[in-house]
Homo-oligomer: 225 residues x 2
DNA sequence: AGCTTTCGCTACGACTCGTAGCGTAACTGG
DNA sequence: CCAGTTACGCTACGAGTCGTAGCGAAAGCT
C-alpha cells in the first residue's frame, strides 16, 4: 500500500507491509508484519518526543524492539520511513463525509486536515520530508503516491458532489477541469498548511468559515468564465 | 542544544549583521562584518550543493574561510544560521511594484514569490526550518520576524492600493480587516508554496492567472458581505 | 600603554550513520 | 524430514558530525 513500487534494489521490499506475494510463492522466512507495525508506531512516537531533527534510526529500532539492521533492510533511510509512518495517519484521518453542501464539505475537510496537522507527529514530519524531497525525486514520488494523490481525490469527489447538487457547473473541457482541480487542491491544502505551520495560528471554525466563503464565492464566480 | 533556549550565553548576538551597538559603546575587537557576509554566502552555497539535510556547519565554516568556533559564537545552530541566510534573499527579492490593478499586483507578487521558491537554496531551506520551528518557539519567532512578517506587509500594501483605486471596499471594523489580511496572506503564500514544493509543479503565468482570478473574484464577492 | 573582545587553531568526547559478518529462526518445496 | 532460502538479532566497525574548551594572537577603544 504505502509504496510506489521500486524495481528491486538491494533493499528488496522497501515497504511492503503485506509482506507476501509479488510474483507467486516467496520462499524463506517471511518478514514479520508485526515488526513493521512496531517500527512505524515507534517512529511516530519518536517524532512526538524528539521531532524530526533529533530522530535517529537507532532510537526507533530500540523502541520497536527490533535490531537496527532489520530497520535498514526495509527502509532506505529516515525519509522513507517517516513518509510511511505519517502516510498511515493520513489514510486514517482523511475522509469526506457528505455534509449536504459544498460549503459544508469544504469546511469539514479543512477542519479535519487542520486537526491532522495539529498532531505533533505530522506537524514536524510533513514539512521535513517535503523539504528533503526537493532534492530527491524518488522521495517526491513516494510522497506523492502515499499522501498527496490521496488528498487530491477528496477534491475530485467534492467537486463531483457539488456538480450533482448543481452548486458548480459541469466543466466541458477535461483539461481545464483537471487544471482547476489542481488549483483548488493547492489553494485548500496550501492555505491550511500555511496557516497552521508557518503563521502558526489556529485553524478554528471561524477561520475555516472565512476561508471557505472566500473560496466558494471565487469558484462560483470564476469557474463558469 | 541546537536552539531552544539561550538565556544569555556566550552567544551574544545570535544574529546582528550590523554587529555594533546594542547598549552604547562596546569595547574590544569588533566582529568582522565581512565574516558575517562570508558565512551567509557560504551557507547559501552549501544549501545549493548539499541541501538542508547534508549541510554541516564545519563545511560552511571551511567555505567561508572562518573557524568553526567563530560560527558557533554567532549562531546557535544550523536552524538560526539558515533562517538568516535565506531571509536576506527574501528581502532582496520581494517587493511590490505598483502594476496598476489589484489583479496585476497579485499576479506579479505570485510570480516573484514563485521565482524565489524555485531557487534551490530557498526550496530546500524554507520547509526545513519551518519543520524545525514546530518544536522551537524561539526559532518560530525568528522566522516570523525575519521572513513572514515582511511578506505580510505586501498584502497590507496591496490592499491599501486596491482600496485607493476603488477595487476593494474600505473595511470599517479593524479587527475583521486584520483577520482578512491574515487570511489572504495564508491563501496566497500557502497556495504558491504548496504548488511549487508539494505538488512540485511550475508556477507559471497560466497558473498565476487562474489563481489570481479565483482570489480576486472571491475577494470582490466575499469581502463586502 | 592597558583593557576588552574576537579570531584562528587544535583537540576532544559523545553521538549517529550505514554496513558487514555471524549464528540462529522461520517457512517452503522436494 | 531435510535441504534451500530468506529474515532476524547481535556485535563491531570506520567515517562523519556535533558543540565545546583552551590557547595565543589580533584588533579595536580610552
Amino acid at each position: 500500500m504505502t509504496s510506489a513500487d521500486r524495481p528491486d534494489g538491494p533493499r528488496t521490499g522497501g515497504s511492503r507491509p503485506d509482506g507476501s506475494r509479488p510474483g507467486g510463492g516467496r520462499t524463506g522466512r517471511p518478514r514479520s508484519a508485526e515488526a513493521d507495525r512496531a517500527i512505524l508506531d515507534a517512529t511516530r512516537a519518536a517524532l512526538v518526543e524528539l521531532g524530526w531533527g533529533k530522530l535517529s534510526l537507532g532510537d526507533v529500532a530500540a523502541r520497536a524492539g527490533v535490531a537496527k539492521t532489520t530497520l535498514y533492510r526495509r527502509w532506505a533511510g529516515k525519509n522513507e520511513l517517516v513518509v510511511d509512518a505519517v502516510a498511515a495517519l493520513f489514510d486514517e484521518q482523511l475522509h469526506l463525509p457528505d455534509l449536504g453542501s459544498l460549503t459544508a464539505d469544504i469546511e469539514g475537510v479543512v477542519l479535519r486536515f487542520a486537526a491532522l496537522l495539529e498532531r505533533p507527529e505530522t506537524k514536524t514530519a510533513l514539512m521535513a520530508v517535503v523539504a528533503e524531497s526537493t532534492r530527491d525525486e524518488a522521495l517526491r514520488d513516494r510522497i506523492r503516491s502515499a499522501i498527496v494523490d490521496r488528498q487530491k481525490r477528496l477534491v475530485l469527489l467534492g467537486r463531483e458532489r457539488a456538480q450533482a447538487r448543481g452548486e458548480l457547473p459541469r466543466e466541458s473541457d477535461p483539461e481545464s477541469a483537471a487544471r482547476n482541480a489542481d488549483l483548488i487542491f493547492d489553494v485548500i491544502a496550501g492555505a491550511v498548511v500555511h496557516r497552521a505551520l508557518v503563521s502558526a495560528e489556529p485553524v478554528d471554525g471561524e477561520w475555516a468559515r472565512g476561508f471557505t466563503t472566500l473560496l466558494v464565492v471565487g469558484l462560483a464566480g470564476a469557474l463558469p468564465d
